[in-house]
Amino acid sequence: MGNIKTIAKRELNAYFASPVAYVFIVIFLLLTGFFTFMIGRFLEANEASLNAFFMWHPWLYLFLVPAAGMRLWSEEHRQGTLELLMTMPITPWQAIVGKFAASWLFLGVALCLTFPMYITVNYLGDPDNGVIIGGYIGSFLMAGAYLAVTCLTSALTRNQVIAFIVSVVICLLLILAGWPPVTEFVNGIVDSLAPNATWIVSMVSSFSVMTHFEDFQRGVVDPRHVLFFLSVIGFSLFSTSVVLKSKRS
């Protein structure tokens, strides 16, 4: 535990030691504001809720989370510090969890800084704050899932740009799996090949972050959805450890 903390502390310091962290936070806040007010028509909707705010998160995170996480392991590869880290008296798992936790915390800080939205809706109307909290929890979990995927891709390559692109593609697949046109498309294929195998359609869409994020937006914190995000995180981090091990041998 102490080792995880030391690793996480170093990683978090690394974020805030460079201007990247501040640039990231500013961009995140500007984009959430832009999408919520301009595209989501938050004010015109005249609704006391943050739906217009949360609905964009899967898409915002698609680019911002890989940008925040792409350096996690690829920089260790590139700078040669992996050799230091892996010869220190810690387990690889502690390093993986520590680095992931630091990044996730950083994303959490960025998310918390959107609190003016919360204040605004409470000032303008009388929203269901349980729904808003649910949205925040779901959003944070989703960010964690994207981040874990980015962890995995950045362990694969010393090139941050490649790590970024591959993460975006994987996260996009995670979003699109539940998008109606894709569901219909899969449905069409399944229908023509094996009309009875509708479970395939539901399986594909069950891999979608959209399907799982929706309930959070309605204020429902369903353990199954929480479990989904946590399993994506667990699976990706485990794969990261496998990749790091195979890279060294």
Partner: protein, 320 residues
């Protein structure tokens, strides 16, 4: 204590380290020598647990590096070849991180950091960010990291690489001092360093150990070792050689140089000469012949020649 047995590392079809065994006890400094690509760094990476061996075992301080990596790594400090460090940190921040992950905290941690900052002469750059350091300072920062927890076992891959001559000297002295109690492995391309620092040296070539012994044992393998060189003014090299050839202990003589009235002749001993026997006989002959001797000395053998013979000649014999 480091104990390495039959270590093998294959990268695909290529064998980088081929059946290397050695032990290093506390108070010993083992120097790794060998041409580029010989497998020195690869061996060290296996000893420190960075890469797993294809075959063989490594035990560090009594812990197997595969079965009990954390305990083994606790006992060890490691300076990788590229001397990596986190560029976004300051020297102090980096050393703090290294100390914390080695389990140091509070006053103990600060004391440990002060100690290595002094030992590695980092006072002037302590608050500077690592990516603005010069190469030598970066190297020293990583060196400091490897000794911050005062480990019993040290593995250092080219510790003096990139340092200025004064720093090279300081670091060599430091290694030698630490080597009185610790078990140390280090690699180098500087042969004098081996003679100055190591208690034992190993020459590795294409993954195999081709020589292993104290530096003087290794240098005595040189053809020159034990030969007596004589500089004489006013007598021809031919005359000197024919007189020296008559000595029983001498197997052959060569002319090194003849210039400005000074002849420079070398007499090689027959089989293993006892200390000083040959030079005594040469001096006796010189006195008898009444040569005006400028200089006479016995070669102790040269490591560079041994190195050359062990690592070059084989390449020529068996080209790929």
């Amino acid at each position: 204590m480091i104990k390495v047995e039959n270590l093998v590392k294959k990268f695909g079809p290529k064998t980088a380290v081929d059946d290397v065994s050695f032990t290093v006890e506390p108070g010993e400094i083992l120097g790794f020598l060998g041409p580029n690509g010989a497998g020195k760094s690869t061996t060290m990476r296996m000893v420190t647990g960075f890469i797993p061996p294809t075959a063989g075992t490594v035990s560090v301080g009594g812990h197997d590096i595969l079965d009990n990596p954390v305990e083994a790594k606790k006992a060890m400090g490691y300076l990788p070849e590229s001397a990596p460090s986190y560029p976004d940190m300051t020297v102090l921040g980096f050393l703090r991180f290294a100390a914390e992950i080695r389990g140091l905290a509070g006053a103990e941690k600060n004391k440990a950091i002060d100690r290595v900052v002094e030992l590695c002469f980092l006072e002037n750059v302590i608050h500077q960010s690592v990516d603005t350091l010069s190469k030598g300072y970066r190297h020293r920062t990583c060196f400091a990291q490897s000794i911050v927890h005062d480990p019993d076992i040290l593995v250092m891959d080219e510790p003096t690489d990139g340092l200025d001559p004064n720093q090279k000297r300081e670091i060599r002295q430091l290694i030698r001092r630490m080597g009185e109690k610790k078990a140390i492995i280090f690699s180098t391309h500087i042969l004098e360093e081996v003679e100055a620092v190591c208690s034992r040296a190993m020459i590795i070539d294409r993954g195999k150990v081709v020589a292993n012994g104290t530096p003087s044992e290794l240098s005595s393998k040189s053809e020159l070792a034990g030969s007596v060189t004589l500089k004489v003014r006013g007598t021809g090299a031919g005359a000197i050689r024919s007189s020296l050839d008559k000595i029983d202990l001498v197997s052959k003589t060569t002319t090194v140089e003849e210039k400005d009235d000074v002849a420079w002749v070398r007499a090689f001993p027959k089989d293993q000469p006892k200390n000083g026997e040959v030079s005594a006989a040469v001096a006796e002959t010189a006195a008898k012949e009444n040569w005006s001797v400028v200089e006479v000395y016995t070669e102790r053998g040269r490591l560079d020649e041994v190195f050359w013979n062990l690592t070059i000649s084989e390449t020529e014999e068996q080209p790929k």
